[in-house]
Amino acid sequence: MQRLYKTFLIINILNGSGKDKIYKLVEGGKSLQAFKKMENKLLHILKCLKQNLLENKECHGYDKEEQQIFDLLERTLDCGESNSALLIGPRRCGKTLLVNKVLERIQHKDNFDTDCILVKLNGLIHTDDRLALKSTTSQMQLDNVVDGKVFGTFAENLAFLLECLRTGDKSKSRSVIFILDEFDLFCCHHNQTLLYNLFDVSQSAQAPICILGITCRLDVIELLEKRVKSRFSHRQIFLLPHENQTSNVHTVGDAVNKIEYYLKLPEGNKKLQINTAVAKQWNRNLNNLLKEKKFRNVIQRLIDLDNSEAMLKDFLVKVIFHFTGENLTVDLFQKELNILEEDDMIKVLQDLTVLELCLIISMKHHLEIYDNNPMNFEMIYNRFMKFANANAGIQNFQRAVMLKAFEHIQGLELISMLSNTGSKVQKEYQFFKLLVTPEQILDAVKKSSGLPTEVAQWARSSLT
């Protein structure tokens, strides 16, 4: 960084423009130091908070489910029972986190290393059974056995794996725990070979294995083929947001508690390089903020939108990453809420040129008149020309320029081509549908500055 700073100075000198700035820097050396000190303090606080938010691996609630899974795995480990179960819950409710927590607990047991093998598969990366098997082989540390042989066909590979699982009877064999994350994606594999074989082994008591699938699909059982379904134990564990569980935030009070949990600085922790006084000051400010009525209104609005904890956490991450200044304020949260409620599409519409916006308005009118029938360039062109001819203030454009503008709109995916028209049609006659709503268009027209008044009026008029 020092080096960079020097290059910066040199560049400035070369430009001949930075001289004043250097003098100022030298003069203000003292205040600069104070500033740096303050900045450093802030950096440490932010680092601590980010750590808290991003790398927090704690999982709350679900004690009963946790115990259930733990017992299941423990029985496989200790007694050599074969089991299969599915863990089902909405996205980002902490399924994988919960499983990891259980696994950590079970890995601490003394007999884990000697009696058990853990195989973790993820439907996202193990996209077919061959990859899944390859990964399984390496996770079972059977690579060296495979190494000498030519890695043959899928069937051979599978047979080899099963052979390894089969050897030894129940009491001698090591048990295997399979964790299948994104279980629903495994159901799309050809013939569900992997699932069939795994469930088959678990049913026929050859080697003790435990299969734990994790998925967000409630209808996952329906995805299984009949022969696979009949081999599954039908043990399903649901992680649904109940009233008494803490994964959802029901009142402002809950939310405030969560915020306090995430944003509070630990006092007197030497490792964090934040001294106790600073941490105390921060926490005092935070407490004051949490009590403010205005702040509670903001949070109320937020949990009215979405009351999951994941969402609240995302919100806090955004607040912390956009945090400038010394203390958290209501305005900061309010601003972030406004951003959250903002429509990105309107921003994109505002970025269009006057011509492009005019074309979008033409489309809106066209759809109103023709009751949402598809449109093509030619129709929009004529509608716009009618408007341009009636208003002297509107600059006239060449047809080619308008076609370019039309294609730009298509590139931004504000309109999309209808698939049923073949590629043989000339592009002027290709049919499109509009992907933005009339409300969004009106909103964008209202917000964009420098738009000719005729255009704004035209957008508001209902039928032309």
Binding site: K47, L124, L131, T324, K347, Y429
Partner: protein
């Protein structure tokens, strides 16, 4: 954050009008020991400085990074291999280009990433990220969750033109942190284009015309007043303003007027600017030969021209109007377009807006003979000309040619094109079109 980092100062100087984006991005990028979100989505219109800013910030802060463009890496194999090459500093030998590792699926990619040393706090930048949606289904969710899958502190930066909601699918619900790059407004554009001053001075050196920044700003104001409503793309505007400036000072070079005479300069440049608006994005010179109409450069035989006109008429008139238009003395009234027009106005959507309709070969020949004054025998030459028109893509065939009622054709040319063709054979095409009242 108020920051004293010189890199920021430097970036703000080199990229004007992007201060807020620079600050936002700086807070998100893993410099020093900052923790960062797993995924950042940088979006905004074309040429708003997205890639430039991300690239130069990563370079200036000396962060290990790999930047790949999804248009270049159109399959996941190429994508993974080029990311690995860049992150592992693997130099490709031009005589024998062997990648760092062969890798064609996500699982290999992840294990290779884990094998490379010192990847913590590194950044992978995917430019034109919207292409991800057209690749394998598991790629986009996998990329968004790369940190979870690899257990490395890698940050993904996706750069794209479109809003993130277009990425939603069944398996992606992760919202990355977003940084929006708004399009430059008129004042911003003026400020940035003024930076060209040194460049145009050098251009104008030979002409020995002396001018100052104010003069150039005046020119840019005129320029933007014509172009701003049609184009906000900075790169394109810069190209256009540079290429038109020499024409702007042409009268001064020829000593027809002085630098201060802005009125006559404006009178001189305004038609030129209007003309060059036409070639926006095309990167051709207004005066060059290319701009001449294609209809003139294409020298069709005499009968082929008639055939093309007949094909156009067959495509854009409905078959039931044929009798009124082409049969002499049909009924009591002589052929007049007027009543055909009044009738067709009732129908809501005009034929012209729906594009060409298919027609049979028989109808084409019938119209051809109706509009041709002289008598010409039907022979192989005529047939051959139809197929050469198809070959030239002026007509296109529909169906596989096995249907019982013969091949159907469609006319692919625009009105302007066929109008100029008709002029060369002295044929008034407007008289025979029922729907072209507005043209």
């Amino acid at each position: 954050m108020m920051t004293s980092d010189p890199v920021i100062e430097f970036l703000k100087q080199s990229l004007p009008c992007r201060d807020s984006q620079i600050d936002q991005l700086y807070n998100l990028i893993p410099h020093k020991d900052h923790l960062t979100p797993p995924c950042i989505y940088v979006y905004g219109g074309a040429s708003t400085g997205k890639t430039t800013l991300v690239t130069s910030m990563l370079q200036q802060l000396e962060i290990k990074h790999a930047i790949v463009n999804l248009v270049e890496c159109y399959t996941s194999k190429i994508l993974f291999e080029s990311i690995l090459n860049k992150l592992s500093d693997h130099k490709l030998d031009p005589t024998n280009p062997v990648p760092y590792a062969r890798c064609d699926n996500l699982i290999d990619f992840i294990s290779h990433l884990q094998a490379i040393e010192g990847l913590d706090r590194s950044v992978i930048v995917l430019d034109k990220a919207e292409e991800l949606r057209n690749m394998e289904v598991n790629l986009l969710p996998g990329i968004l969750r790369i940190r979870e899958l690899t257990n490395l502190k890698i940050t993904m930066i996706l750069i794209s033109d479109i809003v993130f909601e277009k990425y939603y699918s069944k398996s992606t619900n992760i919202e990355p942190l977003k940084v929006y790059f708004p399009q430059y407004n008129k004042d911003d554009l003026l400020e940035i284009l003024t930076l060209d001053f040194d460049y145009v001075r050098k251009l104008a050196e030979e002409t020995s015309v002396d001018f100052d920044v104010e003069f150039y700003k005046n020119y840019l104001n005129l320029f933007l007043s014509v172009f701003y409503r049609a184009c906000r793309d900075l790169c394109e505007l810069r190209h256009m303003s540079r290429s038109n400036f020499m024409k702007y000072i042409q009268p001064v070079v020829q000593k027809q007027c002085s630098v201060t005479d802005s009125m006559s300069l404006w009178r001189n440049i305004s038609p030129i600017l209007k003309n060059s608006l036409e070639v926006l994005y095309l990167r051709v010179d207004v005066t060059s030969e290319q701009m001449k109409s294609a209809a003139h450069s294409l020298e069709l035989p005499y009968y082929a021209k008639y055939l093309l006109v007949a094909a156009y008429l067959a495509s854009y008139n409905s078959a039931k109007d044929d009798k009124k238009l082409f049969v002499r003395n049909a009924g009591r009234k002589s052929r007049s377009v007027r009543d055909v027009k009044t009738k067709s106005k009732v129908s809501e959507q005009l034929n012209t807006q729906l594009g060409p309709k298919p027609f049979t070969f028989d109808r084409l020949l019938a119209i051809f003979y109706a509009i041709l004054e002289e008598k010409v025998g039907f022979n192989n030459n005529l047939l051959a000309q139809v197929s050469s028109l198809v070959e030239l893509r002026l007509l296109s065939t529909i169906g596989d040619g096995t249907s019982l009622d013969g091949q159907k054709y469609k006319c692919n040319v625009s009105f302007d094109f066929v109008h100029s063709i008709a002029k060369t054979i002295g044929f008034n095409i407007r008289k025979y079109l029922s729907d072209f009242s507005h043209l």
